[in-house]
Assembly symmetry: C2
Homo-oligomer: 352 residues x 2
Amino acid sequence: MVVVPIELTSSEPIHYDITIGTLPNLKFDRKVAIITNPTVSSLHLEKLLEKIDAPQCEVVTIPDGETFKTLTTVESILTALFEAKFDRKSLLIALGGGVIGDMTGFAASLYQRGIDFIQVPTTLLSQVDASVGGKTGVNTAYGKNLIGAFYQPKAVYIDPYFLSTLPEREFAAGIAEVVKMAVMFDDDFLTYLEMNDLRQEAVIREMIRRSVTLKAMVVNQDEKEAGIRAVLNYGHTFGHVIENETNYATYLHGEAVAIGIVMANALAVELGLLEESEAHRVMNLLQNNGLPTAYVIRDIKHFYEHFFLDKKSNRGKIKFVLPNGALGTHVMRDDIEASTVKAVLQRFGGGV
Amino acid sequence: MVVVPIELTSSEPIHYDITIGTLPNLKFDRKVAIITNPTVSSLHLEKLLEKIDAPQCEVVTIPDGETFKTLTTVESILTALFEAKFDRKSLLIALGGGVIGDMTGFAASLYQRGIDFIQVPTTLLSQVDASVGGKTGVNTAYGKNLIGAFYQPKAVYIDPYFLSTLPEREFAAGIAEVVKMAVMFDDDFLTYLEMNDLRQEAVIREMIRRSVTLKAMVVNQDEKEAGIRAVLNYGHTFGHVIENETNYATYLHGEAVAIGIVMANALAVELGLLEESEAHRVMNLLQNNGLPTAYVIRDIKHFYEHFFLDKKSNRGKIKFVLPNGALGTHVMRDDIEASTVKAVLQRFGGGV
């Protein structure tokens, strides 16, 4: 028996910058394609085009909305790139929210086994969360983000100006992810969120800066979600089930996460990991910012079974992310009895 | 303007072993799926199953052949995994030739943003080439392997026993890739190939060992094909056009590569990079092993234009890989005049 070892020494360490502020001029010596949707395009494409200097700049417009976050849509992006004879040096720019960013990154990862891409997120949710960290992918009939790749952008440009046209409800949805970061990692940041008007320009910038800095800290330690990055799923274990049960039609992702955070906190209270009063603090913050915190579970058994379809569920165990004794701390638990979880769900008005 | 740097420090260096010899027993504590096709399955599935000890072992059978190397087939693999409730710890095993290996690796890279996979190549071509190095992907209407990922297996098990059932023509096709390695990197190995009967068991083992060792050397230096790995495209620049022009129906991949090697050598002779006699040596070796070395080009302009669809063509330049003064050496050239290339193609019986 002969053994030939493969030792990949050539993989370069990945480095890129997330720039928060007015979108700078962007000069490229290669083909560029902006991937966007009709809604964002009508509001912001012109501004982006003004900033871009490239030998060729294509615009690929895909349908708006989570229901189009599919492999079929990604294929349509790839086809547009083949038609425009893009090569391995070409570049994609995602102009839009999380859906656009996730699919643009995924298309970039697939095209000729990987080309560069840049994120220009236009929603609060994508600015504070989705555009940072290289998770790309699409939904399937079996659940959200179940097909995809870890693929990092070459740069992220976060310009809060884009938020001026964002509907109030979508702005609120972004705040859910901000609250998530604060509850898991930084109680001081949580207090800041409670004490300030989150619609104020200076506060928005500070909120983005602190969220992105926390997320960068996590991603820098654990790109592939082998450990601490799973903490970012706080609120999402429950939220994903809610989104799925309501066919992604009733709630925005951030809204489902807000409800999920309240559910996770209820479980933490039940387990003695959080004071009831602290859970209330978080619920109030979410409510004060226009986020839903209640959800009537029709069938608890069904809701619980749904957890197992989640990517986080490994070898039949569900991993819950919870505050760990206080706000600003976290713990991952895969040893919680089904009966305990179901008892907590029961309180959300569920039947058996 | 605030800049938050992303510095991914967590990415582990990639290491795995390619084991050449009798397939060992394989014990897993997780779900396993073998991806194969009906032809290979009827010949070798039983043997593989005997070696595997796992809590759950699925078999996913996909249609046989290059025409099924599509995103649609990969989706069918992913669907089977979702149906079997595979999680992030589950494992895929590719049992088959290059097509099976490329699609299994690609499916593994996509499933929940990446799960482990193992290669058990059953053809000479996949044993000496395709199973080593982590190139995965599928064909599109625009060309071969245009969608995919760089995604390394956890292990490769090369058992020459599988070759006992391989059709003669497919065995020959594998030799084309062996000759490619020798011509590019190792003249001594080329002499070995000329001096020995490549159907002898001990010679087959040695041929696999030396090819894989050379390929590992290249991949270890340059996983993502930023430099030296592109040398492995020797013969392929021409071969891919031949395959495409003949709708992947006339030639096996290795056969097209054999013709491509002869064409590349003719270009090298034209440029003064190779003695005519050395080009003949290689042609004889290919012919002696049952490989085609002639191809009538119907339309040279069309053939030449086709180069630009290749992944290797960057910013409108075609990169030719050629021997560099002698066999066992290589050079990449993107400065060759179209007229020079066309003059060489003309000699292959082409019209204008």
